[in-house]
Point group: C2
Chain length 405, copies 2
Amino acid sequence: MGKIAYASVLREDFTQVRYDDLYQALATGALGRIEYCYAYGPELLPAATSTTSGMWRFRNLLPIGDLPITYPLAIGDTPLVAPYRLREATGIPDLWLKDETRTPTGSNKDRATALVLEHAMRNGVQTVSCASTGNVAASLAVGAAATGIAATIFVPAEVSEAKLKLMLLAGATVLKVREGYEAAFELSQEAARTFGWYDRNTGVNPLTLEAKKTVAFEIWEQLRRRVPDAVLIPVGDGPTLSAMVKGFRELVACGASDRLPRAIGVQAEGCQPVKRAWDTGKPVRSVRPETVADGIAVGAPISASLVLRDVRESGGGFVTVSDESMLQAIRTLAATGGILAEPAGAAAFAGLEPAMEAGLIDQDETIVVHVTGTGLKSPQYLQPKVPPIEINATLEEVEQAIESP
Amino acid sequence: MGKIAYASVLREDFTQVRYDDLYQALATGALGRIEYCYAYGPELLPAATSTTSGMWRFRNLLPIGDLPITYPLAIGDTPLVAPYRLREATGIPDLWLKDETRTPTGSNKDRATALVLEHAMRNGVQTVSCASTGNVAASLAVGAAATGIAATIFVPAEVSEAKLKLMLLAGATVLKVREGYEAAFELSQEAARTFGWYDRNTGVNPLTLEAKKTVAFEIWEQLRRRVPDAVLIPVGDGPTLSAMVKGFRELVACGASDRLPRAIGVQAEGCQPVKRAWDTGKPVRSVRPETVADGIAVGAPISASLVLRDVRESGGGFVTVSDESMLQAIRTLAATGGILAEPAGAAAFAGLEPAMEAGLIDQDETIVVHVTGTGLKSPQYLQPKVPPIEINATLEEVEQAIESP
C-alpha cells in the first residue's frame, strides 16, 4: 500500500495520496501549497526492535522516500529526562523534560534543518535561505555548511552577537536588514523567489512541520509507547506546537494511541498575541514583542490559526509567563534539572505553575515539558544569584567560606 | 564468573579480582590507590542487539555493580560523524569525528561526572569537590545539582566568565583561589580529606578514567564493531587519552579486537610538556602554559607517565598545534564539519595535518578525531573572518551584497 496521506491542499481535499507524491507535486509546482496532511497506517511505525537511530527511524512517516539519507549530522534521539529533584520540587511524580538542547546547534530547529537540507540535496539546490533572529539561522548555517550548500540568511539589525557569530563562523552569507525582522522576513521570501533559492522559513516550508513532528514520536517511544497526558510547549510563531500535535495526531492515525495529549501553549507575557486570541475568541492582533525570550518573540505569528486549532482539538489551553519567571526557570533547570536553557527554552517549564493553577494539568498526570533550546548561545540570560567566594589558599579560609550563609 | 580485573595496586599485583570488589576496597580504605586495572572477558561486552542506551550499555565493563542506575542525565551515545566535506578537504575518505560536544554540559567530562556521582549517591556522599578551570567544574556543578549532592569547586582567579557563570547557575559553591590553579588543585585535595568530601579530580579519582574509556567502546560499536587505525586526542593532563586507550585495551582483552589503534596525542605549542618528554626521553618538566586552549593548558601534568606509556604501547606519537591552527580548526569544523568546538576541542582536528606530515597517520586509514568540547562555552574563541553585510530591505541591495566578493 505504501505511504498514505490525508491532505487538505488549498481548497481541494486529497485523500489516500502517496505522501511522497504530494511533496513532489509541491516541489514541481503542481501544487501551490500544502495546508495540512498527515501520514497514517500502523505499518508506518518503526518496529519496536528497530535499531536505526535518530530522527530517520521515523522515515516512513516523513516525506523522504526510500533513497539513503545522506545528511551528515546526527539528528533526533534527544533525551527524555526523568528529573527526580524537579519531580519532588514540583510535586509531579511523572514529570519529564524533553531535552532539545542536545542537538548540533542546541535547538529543536535542527530537526527541520535536517529534513529541508536532505530534500535540498536531492533536488540539486545550490542555495538555501531563511530569515531568523537566531536559532533557525544558526541551525541552517551549520547544517548547510556540513552539506556544502550555500546559505543566505536575513537577520534584523538587532540580532544577538553570539548567534550572529555562529552563522558567520559556519560561513553563511548574513544580510543584516536595517528595517528589522518583519522586513527581513518579507525580503527573504521575495529574494528566494527572485534568485531561485530554496526557502527554509518555518511556517512557509511545510517540511519544517514534518520534521519537527518527530519529537512527538520520540516522546511516545521514550514513554514505552504511550502518550503523556499533557505537553507544555513554548509558542512564538507556533510551528513547534503544531508539529508536536501533528506527531501525536499521526500516532492516533497509526493506531498507536487512542487520544492526543493536551497541548499547553506557553507565551511570554510581553508577547502573547495567540493567547489573547484564545482568550477573546477574536482574530490574532499583532503586538510589539517585549520579552527576553527572543526565541518566542513573534509579534505577528503567521501560523496562529493552526496553533489555535491544535490546542483546541487537543483539549489544551494557553498560559503566559513573565520574563522574571523564565529567568528563574533557567536557574531552576540548571540547579535542579541538569539542563542549561535559554529563556524561550525554559518558558514551558516556567509555565508549569500557571498551568496547574489554571487547572490545565494535574499533579498526578504524565506531563512532558519541551525544553527547546540551550542557554549556551544566550549567555546574557544565564544570571546566577550567588557570586563566587574569593579566598587565599588556606584551609581556614575554605572553612569560613563554606560556613558563611 | 562475573567481573574480572587485572589490577596493579601500588606494588602488589592482583589478578582475577572482581572489579567491583577492587573499587569497594578502595572506597573502604583497604586499598590506598588503584594504579591500573582492566576488565576482560568476552561475556562483558553488550550483545549486538542490546537496546540499552548511553554509557551504561557498557556497565558490565564498569565498576558499578548490578544495582539500577539512578543518575538522571543521559550520558554517552554521542555521534560518530562521517563528515563528507571534511573527508574531501582532507583527502581522508574514512575520517570520523567523535562529537563529544553533544553532552549535558558540552564536554567529554560529563562521562566521568556521571560515574563519580552514581558512585557518590550509592555511598551516601553529601558533598563532591574538584579543582578546575572550566569544563570539569561546569560538568560537576550541573551533574551534582541534578542528583542533589552539594558541589564545592575550586577555581583559579583568572577563570573564564562564561564557565564561572555555569557553575554558579547550577548552584555550586565556587571558591576562587587567588594563588592560581596549582594552589587551587592542592587546596581542593586537602579540603576534601579534611571535610570528608568526595574528590572528583581527574587523575586522582580512578573512576574518571573508567567512565571516559566508554568513548572507545562507542567508537568501536559505531564503526560496526571494529577499531580504527588511529585516534587523535587532545592532551592536557592526559586522562582523556589514557582512558581512550584503556577502552581499546579492554576491547582487545575481551577478544573484540586483535590490536590497539595508534593513539596520537595532540598538545598546544604553548604547553607541550608531554610532547617534550616524548621527544627527549627525559622526565616531564613543568612549563607555564601559554595557549588559548584552556582545556589542555596543563603545565604540570600528573598523569604524564601513563600517557607516555599508552601512546608508546599503541604505536602512536605526539604532535603539537599552534593557537592559530586551533582557531582555524574551529572555523573549519563549523564551516565544513557541522560542529562548534572550543580550542582544546578542535586541537585534535588541527593535529591531522602535522600527524600526516610526521608519518603518524596515512590517508587511506580509518582515522577518528576526538572533538572533546563545545565552543558555545568559549564564545571569545569563535572568531569568524567575514562580517555580516548591512543592507536596506530592497532586492537591489540583496543582489549587490551576494555579488560582492
